[in-house]
Structure formats: C-alpha cells, structure tokens
C-alpha cells in the first residue's frame, strides 16, 4: 500500500484516502444543507398549518407569502444545491481516492453560496421580495434579492466547475479510468447543474441590472448612487456646479444639463448594458410590493357562489 499523502487520512472501512480539505468542504456544505432543510421544514409546517382552515396559524397573508417563498427557496435551491456540492466533492475526490485540487475555490464557492442564500432568505422574510417564484418581470423584488440570487448562482457554478476540474485532473494524472457509478451520477448531475445555473444567471443578471437602474431612475438619483455617494439630493436642488438633479417621478434620471456634461465612466458602462439608459422616459410605474395605504389596488370580495 502506497504511503499516505500529506493532508489526508485513510478510512479503515473502505481503504480510501480522504483528503482533509475535501472533507472539511463536504462537512460544511452538508451541514449547511441540512440546516436549510430544517428551516425549510419548519416553514413548511407553518404553511401547512395555515392552509388547514381549522388552525390557520398565520392570519397575516403577507407573512404567509413570505414563508411560502422562503420555504420554497430553502427546499428547492439551498438544501438541494448545498447537498449536491457536498456530494460533488465526495464523488469527485474521496471516491476517486485522489487529492483535491484548488480547495480555495471550494471555500470561495461556499462563501458566495452562504452570502447569497442568506441574502435571499433575509430579503424574502423581511418582505422585500414577496415575489415567490414569479420573480421575473413585472412582479418586482428588491434589487438586493436579485444580487443575492446571482451571488448564490455564481458560488454554485464555482463548485460545479471545481468538481469538473478535479475529475478531469484525476483522469489526466491517470488515477482513474472508468468512473465509479456514484461519480458518474454526480458528473451527470454536474452537467445538468451547469446548464441550469448558467441559464438562471442569464435570466437573473439582466433583471438585477434592470431593476437597479429602474429604482435609481425612479429616485432621480442615478449618477449620485452610481458614483457611490449615497446622496439624498432629489428635489430640484442645485448641486453647486450648475447641474440639477430632477425630481423623483419625473421619469428622467438626470437633467439635460447632466446629459450634456461629462458622463462618469460607470454611467457609460451602464449605457452599454442598457443602450436606452435613462434617456428614454421610464415607462413602467413603480410596482409596490406591499398593500399599504399608498397602493391603488382595490381588494374586492365576491359573494360566494350560490349552491348549484
């Protein structure tokens, strides 16, 4: 039996040499996955007890929708993807009896997935993103929800790519010929994950940029916000350099004087992404997420159907 590599230990049952960095990553991802499963399960119980008319535990419909959305994401995205990542490292490194390449990428992926998933949970549970799974236009969530979504997706993408790199690396080093069935299955799952994560990112990234732009257009504060100064100058207040920011709701981001003036580089970059920028009037109306006093929606209750 060949000598153990540094940073690994040998399993007494299977004889496999377990890479310690892979082991730590598997533990962190799997434990996070199970925590999300528990959180999603608790929310599922609350949702089910609300749907049960006799108990109806949550009387506030907004909280009900928040919990449904958070439950769905915890169960369908976070639990599954964290556990899949743990499975990928197990199948791609431990089962192949090989060492882990670039574990740092695994930690970056884990950090991105944690930040992204927590960001999504916070925005959903605080009512900034009660859009459930119809997050696409025109039902609008907070821009932070989309940013968190993108971070989570990029993290998962890193993990999947790291798995592929490790499997291909082991193969190139001649440590594996035909893949064991478990690793083969994880490879198939990784290919599917790659497709779905990339297509999700293609859908969500422009959405995030659009909503960010729209929100700033509405607040009339685009240049200030993009430049990083969280200035609260809104109403026609002179900026001291002869240029005026327009009022919120005027549907233009910056005044004509601003447009003629030197545009900051970041604004020009935004123009490349959205050629119409804010030069064209913003046509969409603000879409409230809450049913507050400001909303123009009428809640009507139809009388029940007469018995047939």
């Amino acid at each position: 039996m060949e000598a153990l590599r540094a940073g690994s230990w040998q399993c007494q049952v299977t004889g496999l040499k377990v890479d310690r960095s892979a082991e730590r990553l598997i533990q962190f991802n799997a434990v996070t996955a199970v925590l999300y499963l528990a959180a999603g399960g608790i929310m599922a119980i609350l949702v089910a007890l609300t749907r049960w008319d006799a108990i109806h535990i949550i009387s506030d419909p907004e909280w009900f929708y928040r919990l449904v959305g958070a439950h769905g994401s915890a169960m369908l995205l976070f639990w599954i993807l964290f556990f899949e990542v743990a499975g990928l490292y197990f199948g791609g490194i431990v089962v192949l009896n090989t060492r882990m390449m670039a574990p740092i990428v695994g930690w970056v992926a884990f950090a991105l997935m944690i930040i992204g998933s927590l960001g999504m949970m916070v925005t959903m549970l605080t009512g900034r993103a009660t859009v459930m799974f119809t997050a696409y236009p025109p039902l609008e969530a907070s821009q932070w929800f989309y940013l968190a979504y993108v971070l989570f997706a990029v993290g998962a993408l890193f993990a999947v790519i790291l798995f592929l790199v490790n499997v291909v690396g082991a193969r190139l080093r001649g440590e594996v010929q035909t893949l064991p069935l478990f690793t083969f299955a994880m490879l198939a799952a990784a290919i599917i994950a790659l497709f779905s994560i990339i297509s999700g990112a293609i859908a969500i990234v422009p959405l995030w940029l659009k909503y960010r732009r729209d929100r700033l257009c509405r607040s009339g504060n685009l240049s200030a916000a993009l430049l990083g100064s969280r200035s609260r100058r809104t109403a026609d207040q002179p900026r001291g350099d002869g240029r005026h920011l327009v009022r919120a709701g005027d549907n233009h981001c910056w005044s004509e004087a601003d447009q003629r003036g030197a545009q900051p580089l970041c604004l020009r970059a935004l123009h490349l992404l959205h050629p119409d920028g804010c030069d064209t009037p913003y046509s969409g109306r603000p879409r409230p997420r809450h049913l507050g006093a400001d909303d123009q929606y009428q809640l009507l209750r139809l009388p029940p159907c007469s018995a047939a």
Binding site: F133, P138, L181, F182, A185, Y297, L300, R301, L302, P303
Partner: protein
C-alpha cells in the same frame, strides 16, 4: 479492497459487456415506456382527449386591452355589479373581454347555456392565472398578450375563476365569476 464491487468503486473491464439479463430487461422496458409517453403527449391525447384547449394568442398593449375591456363593459353592461365589479351580459356568439388585474377579474360575465363565446383574456399588470372552477380549465394570462379561447357553457350555474399564478399580496382574494343562465 481491490476486489470490492459497488457504486463507489470503478467497474472492472468494460461495464457494458456483457450486459446483464436484468439490465437488458430494465433498459428495454424504459425505452418502450419513453416512446409510449412521447406518443401519448404529442399524438394520442391531442387526437382523442376532450380536455385539450385550443387557443390563439395575439400581442396587444396593456393600455389598449384595458380600453377595449372598458368599452365592452359599457356596451353590454347590465348596470348591476357584484361586489363592486360590473356585470355584463354579452350577446351569444360575441367576443367577451376579460381583464385580469391585481386583484380581480373584470367584468363578471353572464352567459347563456349552449351558446359559444370567444373569450379574449389578458392582464394589464403582472402575470395571472385563469382557472375556471369547478370545471378545472386552466390558462395562463400574460400582460401584453391576448389569449383567445372559445367556451361553450353546457350547464347553468355559477362558475368561479381563480387566479392560480401568484401575482402579489392580494393573490388569495383574486376571484372572478361567470354566471350561466338558460
């Protein structure tokens, strides 16, 4: 552990030769079932199923559809309203405009039994669902597009339209009504 077999070790030799008897059986059953399902979805049920919806779609601006619905309500309105939503009684064979909007279906429609109507359904804000209960006819309602579907009520009574696509915080209150009379 070189003599172990299982899912965690690499198969010896070529895994597909020879293919086991049970694997051959499993594979042929899966292949036959896949072909059968494909045929059912694309050829058999569209030909013999009586619950297949056939509909057309048209592009329209949200504002234009709202105007058309308002015109339709003014033209055929009975003057009554149900829970604040105007009731219309369109003549048999006519077009019925039905607008889904947060959080109601406008208008309430009164139909005559056995007559065919062409429903033009759209949304003027976000995506909604049209679910006619208890008959369980389900359609997607997308802003910017008209869904044109012909409906012939066969029994009198009151039918509920339920929005079955989450559309915001008042989603659970979004109901519409179709009344069928003799």
């Amino acid at each position: 552990m070189a003599n172990r077999t299982g899912t965690l070790v690499a198969p010896r030799g070529r895994w597909w030769s020879p293919l086991g008897k049970d694997e051959k059986l499993w594979f042929s059953m899966a292949a036959v079932w896949a072909v059968a399902m494909f045929a059912m979805i694309f050829f058999i049920w569209p030909a013999v199923g009586d619950r297949q919806q056939t509909f057309e779609g048209y592009r329209i601006s949200e504002a234009e559809f709202a105007t058309l619905t308002q015109q339709f309500i003014e033209e055929h309105g009975t003057g009554e309203n149900l829970g604040g939503i105007p009731v219309v009684a369109p003549p048999p064979g006519s077009d019925v405009y039905l607008m889904a909007t947060r959080f109601q279906f406008r208008p309430v429609v009164q139909l005559q039994r056995g007559e065919t109507y062409r429903f033009l359904i759209s949304s003027n804000d976000v995506q909604h669902g049209f679910s006619l209960q208890p008959d369980n006819i389900n359609l997607q309602v997308i802003p910017g597009y008209i869904l044109a579907v012909e409906l012939t009520p066969e029994e009198t009574g009151e039918y509920e339209i339920v929005c079955n696509e989450y559309c915001g915080l008042g989603h659970h209150l979004m109901l519409g009504r179709i009344t069928v009379v003799e």
